[in-house]
């Protein structure tokens, strides 16, 4: 039986995949040799579970909910919501006041929530103005 039949792809696929898996396994072995290895593995696997099985179904459901409304208006809601959402995903520790920022820098963390809310408000307002202009033009 040929390799392609038995394996399902050509020899280069097999060699490059094994090389990459070996390097990844070696890096993992360094983690396992260090402290708090179980916590690293938990975060590694947890990140996949949170994204694939929680965040993805959640935003898909939200999107279907939005699509139940007028198709004409939907992108005027989705676009500012997504832009604001990306800013939140990246900067949520500062926005909601987590972490050691205040203790380390002695600066108040409150400004970030205010700034994010203002940014979100501005995005939705701009989207609303555009929608109104489009609606008037018919």
């Amino acid at each position: 039986m040929s390799l392609r039949r038995a394996y399902g792809a050509g020899p280069l696929h097999l060699l490059s995949t094994l090389a990459a898996l070996a390097l990844a396994a070696y890096a993992f072995s360094r983690v396992l040799a260090g402290a708090q290895a179980a916590n690293v593995v938990l975060w590694f696997a947890g990140a996949v579970v949170v994204h694939d099985l929680i965040a993805f179904p959640l935003y898909t459901a939200l999107n279907r909910l939005a699509l139940g409304r007028s198709i004409r208006a939907v992108n005027h809601v989705r676009v500012p919501a997504l832009l604001s959402g990306f800013a939140f995903i990246v900067f949520f520790p500062l926005i909601v006041g987590l972490g050691r920022y205040e203790r380390a820098t002695t600066l108040s963390q409150d400004v970030y929530l205010a700034r994010w809310l203002l940014l979100t408000g501005a995005l939705f307002a701009a989207s609303g103005v555009l929608y109104a202009l489009r609606a008037r033009r018919g």
Binding site: G8, L23, A45, F86, A87, A104
Partner: protein, 438 residues
């Protein structure tokens, strides 16, 4: 005779493909008409341009820490994974500000592209049958590593840059080894998918697709599992998705870049941890850790403070007045943090190599620096001969014409061109020249 199911892969695969799978595994449950190899390829091409910048600058950052010196290595035994480490240069002085600014800023700007790319490829997670061949099984393992390491690296890096550490492990070690898992999985994915990506982009040129509005947005054709079997009507065009993703990416770039680039751009880095305007005084620039947060007291840094200089033929104990009486030099140098922000100021103080000469050190392998601070991984750092020997490398006493403030390291701090910020030790108590030869 009934066929044995166990041990006969072909029978198992055939049976699995005949059994109707639960909903997410059914191709009909994936409705978006935009998903397909073309969209995945465009997003993949963008990541293929951006991710290598983040990977290379990440590896460079490890080298910049000079892990072979003293106790600089904080990640345990990296085995052969540090094979590329080289003596980190001091020229140009903004080298680390550039590499690390790129690492963090480009990393943050790639977040929307990464997440939309994951969205575009999500049907692959729910392929049916789940395993078609040994090749498919290995590829799925490598994809699990790719997705896991991508999410792990982005999450740990981004949270660390905001001083939020909700985990028990050492960030430095986990982000370093996670980086190598990511490199392995990313390079493999790029190699395996490059031909399909090029084919897809050639068949459907980007510029043509950018001319198509919502009315002309139809599902891709072909036999890819990404193309929906039962697509719903489009609610946004492909160019709309690309504009939204690119716009979000540029928006995050604008909200972050200023903390690294500085100047007027710092004012629009509205959500970045070090994008704030702290005033116009000589000491009004970014602080990572204040004196109070590390338990540095005025009693320790007052008149009783002495700098010990060891390792030479003449060990020294110098007061701040002694140091100010030595020849002072001033240089414009950046403090560049591993968290991706930097700030360039005019520092003045005594050259480290002048202190070496004064202490009777002619040649050395390493300058070990220790702070007054009791805790923290970076209360000590070792500098290479090249770093400590550069003419611009200072034990800084003043900044912008004023005494250092307590938060900037009064009575004295290290400032070395292109050195990672955490190695620019503040509240210095000891300089020890090691490996000296008189």
């Amino acid at each position: 005779m009934a066929p044995s199911l166990i041990g006969d892969r072909h029978v198992t695969v055939r049976l699995l493909s005949q059994t109707p799978p639960p909903p997410p595994f059914r191709r009909e449950s994936w409705r978006s008409p935009l998903r397909g190899p073309w969209l995945a390829s465009v997003l993949g091409a963008a990541l293929l341009a951006g991710i290598p910048i983040v990977l290379v600058t990440g590896l460079l950052s490890y080298a910049a820490y000079e892990p072979a010196l003293g106790r600089n290595n904080l990640i345990g035994d990296p085995g052969f994974l540090d094979f590329y480490v080289f003596s980190w240069p001091t020229n140009p002085s903004w080298l680390y500000a550039l590499t690390q600014g790129l690492h963090v800023t480009v990393g943050i700007a790639l977040v929307p592209i990464v997440l939309v790319k994951l969205w575009s490829a999500m049907p692959r997670l729910f392929e049916w049958p789940p395993l078609r061949s040994p090749a498919h099984a290995l590829e799925r393992i490598s994809l699990a590593l790719l997705v896991g390491s991508t999410l792990f690296q982005f999450a740990t890096g981004i949270l660390n840059a905001q001083l939020y550490y909700p985990w028990k492990f050492s960030f430095l070690a986990a982000h370093f080894y996670g980086g190598w898992v990511f490199i392995a999985a990313f390079v493999l994915h790029a190699v395996l998918k490059l031909p399909a990506m090029r084919r897809s982009l050639r068949e459907r040129p980007l510029l043509d697709e950018l001319r198509r509005g919502l009315d002309e947005t139809v599902p891709e054709s072909g036999d890819s599992a990404l193309i929906p079997a039962a697509p719903s009507a489009p609610t946004i065009s492909r160019r709309g998705v690309l504009a939204l993703t690119g716009g979000a990416s540029l928006g995050l770039l604008a909200l972050t870049a200023g903390q690294s680039v500085g100047g007027p751009l710092r004012e629009i880095a509205l959500l970045a941890p070090h994008g704030r305007d702290l005033g116009s005084g000589p000491n009004d620039f970014q602080v990572n850790k204040t004196a109070a947060s590390l338990g540095i007291t005025p009693a320790q840094t007052g008149a009783a403070w002495r700098l010990r200089v060891d390792g030479g033929q003449r060990p020294l104990e110098l007061s701040r007045a002694d140091l100010l009486a030595l020849t002072q030099h001033a240089y414009e140098l950046p403090i560049a943090c591993v968290e991706g922000w930097s700030t360039t100021q005019s520092w003045s103080g005594v050259r480290l190599r002048d202190l070496a000469a004064l202490a009777g050190v002619e040649a050395f392998d390493e300058l070990y620096v220790e702070s007054l601070q009791r805790g923290g991984s970076f209360r000590r750092a070792s500098l290479s001969t090249r770093q400590a020997g550069d003419r611009r490398s200072l034990l800084a006493l003043r900044v912008n014409g004023a005494d250092l403030s307590p938060d900037h390291g009064f009575p004295a701090r290290i400032v070395v061109p292109a050195l990672p910020g955490v190695h620019c030790t503040k509240w210095v108590a000891l300089l020890e020249f090691r490996g000296t030869r008189a």
